[in-house]
């Protein structure tokens, strides 16, 4: 089943066409890799699909519903969560608070029903709600083996842990689809191995994963399918094996590494 699909998605910044008529497909339940040289438009493609950037033209469907141009918070609520290439944690908040924010729209009644009146809600109800958010957040920290650091400020975590916390925070929104923008960037080989195992674990939870990554070992190891972007255009799509052998991919991207 196709979970997410774009049709001729385009984002131009003046003369620079960062994403050029891209048809991108994400199969439910798989780990999809999105690779390409620096500046190929990978992050921009993520941004236009998650509502942080508006496409110049083209369409995005999620779960058979068109979501083109939806605001970011709505897209998140529909079930797409993400991390950022340049880590965007709430730095001055604690580790557990970061994850709790991921639970923001998960508790209470519908968002439209006067959340503003929280202050006059019964004390007991407020306490229960907080407790529920807190417990869930701890569960996610546990998933990443980070419970011990729960009261530390996010900015004080080691770099690799910050990347993991960002994933934990995204998962706290209970997404169907998780976008990871260069999750292994800045990690050492051991951390990267650990991350690979974690991503598989996330997939096994039933979360569909799309990841942008430069670490070819990681990509070839864990991705079920790979899409290659080059100069904003889709260059190829296939299994890791097919991508490795694709001559235009080798020329555009892998070639440089293998040489």
């Amino acid at each position: 089943m196709i979970l997410l699909e774009t049709e001729a998605l385009t984002r131009a910044y003046g003369g620079v066409v960062a994403v050029n008529k891209v048809d991108f497909e994400v199969e439910s339940g798989l780990i999809t890799g999105l690779i390409g040289p620096n500046g190929a438009g990978k992050t921009t493609l993520f941004n236009t699909m998650t509502g942080l950037d508006t496409p110049s033209s083209g369409k995005v469907w999620f779960n058979n519903k068109e979501i083109t141009g939806y605001p970011a918070h709505k897209i998140c609520r529909m079930g797409i969560a993400r991390t950022f290439q340049n880590i965007r944690l709430f730095k001055e908040l604690t580790v557990v608070e970061n994850v709790m924010i991921g639970r923001h729209f998960k508790t209470g009644k519908s968002e439209t029903k006067g959340r503003f009146l929280n202050a006059v809600k019964s004390y007991v109800k407020l306490k229960e709600e907080e407790e529920e958010i807190y417990e869930k957040a701890l569960d996610w920290l546990d998933f990443f083996d980070m419970e011990a650091s729960k009261n530390e400020l996010a900015k004080n975590l080691p770099y690799g842990k910050q990347r993991e916390l960002e994933i934990a925070r995204a998962l706290a929104t209970d997404p169907k689809l998780l976008f990871l923008d260069e999750p292994a960037a800045g990690m050492n080989p051991q951390e990267t191995d650990h991350l690979m195992a974690t991503i598989r674990k996330i997939r096994d939870l039933g979360v569909t994963v799309v990841l942008i990554e430069h670490d070819m070992k990681l990509v070839m190891n864990i991705c079920d399918t790979i899409t290659v972007l080059n100069y904003g255009q889709k260059l190829a799509q296939g299994t890791p094996h097919e991508i490795k052998k694709n001559p235009s991919v080798i020329e555009a991207y892998l070639g440089k590494d293998e040489a």
């Binding site: 970011a72 918070h73 965007r88 604690t94 729209f105 968002e111 503003f116 929280n118 907080e130 009261n151």
Partner: protein, 305 residues
């Protein structure tokens, strides 16, 4: 002397309300807004006009003052949402001045620069809270401060407080966590405005007369000073800041030195306080409120250096 002391305490309470409102906007939401004087004026004039011209009681004017300032909070919040930092400060600064100009010039309603006199004293259960006998009035103000403090504190410790913290820390990440950042920014403005409106009502019924000259830009600066001095993101600190700043600003009169110290001393002092705090203790006297999830021990001291 005691009377003067009580007067300062009453003003401290009234300003503490405004400071708590500023704290939700600036301390929690991270938005540098300079509007409190405008909402303060709106609350005062709502009470002044309705009591003197429509014969309402002070208590009946309170919800109106609350709603009218909340409405203006919404009106000022929406268009300024896209602005950040200095730009937001400048845009909101204009609002207070507009309010004051309207009050100065809308003679038929506000009596222009002459202002409105003979505002009735508040009566509760047949007991008149006479501002000249300050004790009862002080008790009333303290009750208002306590109620506001409890409500704000609960708000801050709920999802809303966290959502505002997320908006302050990183708007893009906040959006991507499903937080409607526009909504929360506007909420912060509305809350900050409405409590300042209530403070305005109290001010009107305390001084028993209002003139536009009371609601200058300096009021907004003073309120901001209170929040920064006490510590952003901490309602107790806002109250503390209000007391300290009020005592400092009445220092010349309190010590009988008002003939020696020029009135401009306040302005200079507030500027100095802001600068000194920014350099030596950017988190304020009390610092950000330590939550259950944030042990005070790990709270950093602002700067990276």
């Amino acid at each position: 002397m005691l009377n003067f002391f009580l007067l300062i305490l009453i003003y401290s309470g009234i300003y503490a309300l405004m400071a708590m409102g500023q704290n939700i906007i600036t301390g929690y939401g991270g938005m540098l807004s300079l509007t409190q004087a405008g909402f303060f004026a709106i609350g005062s004039y709502v009470t002044a006009i309705l009591t003197t011209q429509a014969g309402w009681s002070f208590w009946a004017t309170l919800p109106v003052a609350f709603l009218v300032s909340a409405l203006f909070g919404l009106l000022i919040g929406l268009p300024t949402l896209r602005l950040k930092g200095d730009y937001l400060a400048i845009a909101t600064l204009g609002f207070g001045e507009i309010v004051r100009n309207v009050l100065n010039n809308w003679d038929s309603l506000t009596n222009g620069p002459m202002g409105i006199q003979r505002i009735p004293m508040p009566v509760i259960l047949g007991f008149t809270i006479n501002p000249y006998k300050k004790y009862a009035f002080l008790v009333m103000v303290i009750v208002f401060v306590i109620i506001a403090y409890i409500l704000f504190q609960r708000l801050a410790r709920s999802r809303m407080g966290r959502a505002l913290a997320a908006v302050r820390e990183d708007e893009i990440a906040a959006q991507s966590m499903g937080i409607n950042i526009t909504k929360y920014k506007v909420y912060a403005f509305i809350l900050g405005a409405s409590v300042a409106g209530i403070a305005g009502s109290l001010q009107a019924t305390f001084t028993l007369s209002v003139t536009p000259g009371t609601y200058t830009f300096m009021v907004s600066v003073m309120v901001l000073c209170m929040v920064v001095l006490g510590g952003m993101g901490n309602f107790k600190a806002s109250i503390l800041g209000a007391f300290i700043i009020q005592f400092i600003s009445y220092f010349p009169q309190l010590t009988g030195l008002s003939s020696v110290i020029p009135p401009q001393f306040k302005q200079i002092l507030f500027g100095l306080i802001l600068v000194v705090m920014m350099i030596w203790r950017p988190q304020g006297i009390l610092g950000r409120e330590a939550t259950r999830y944030r042990k005070r021990a790990v709270t950093p001291t602002g700067g990276e250096q």
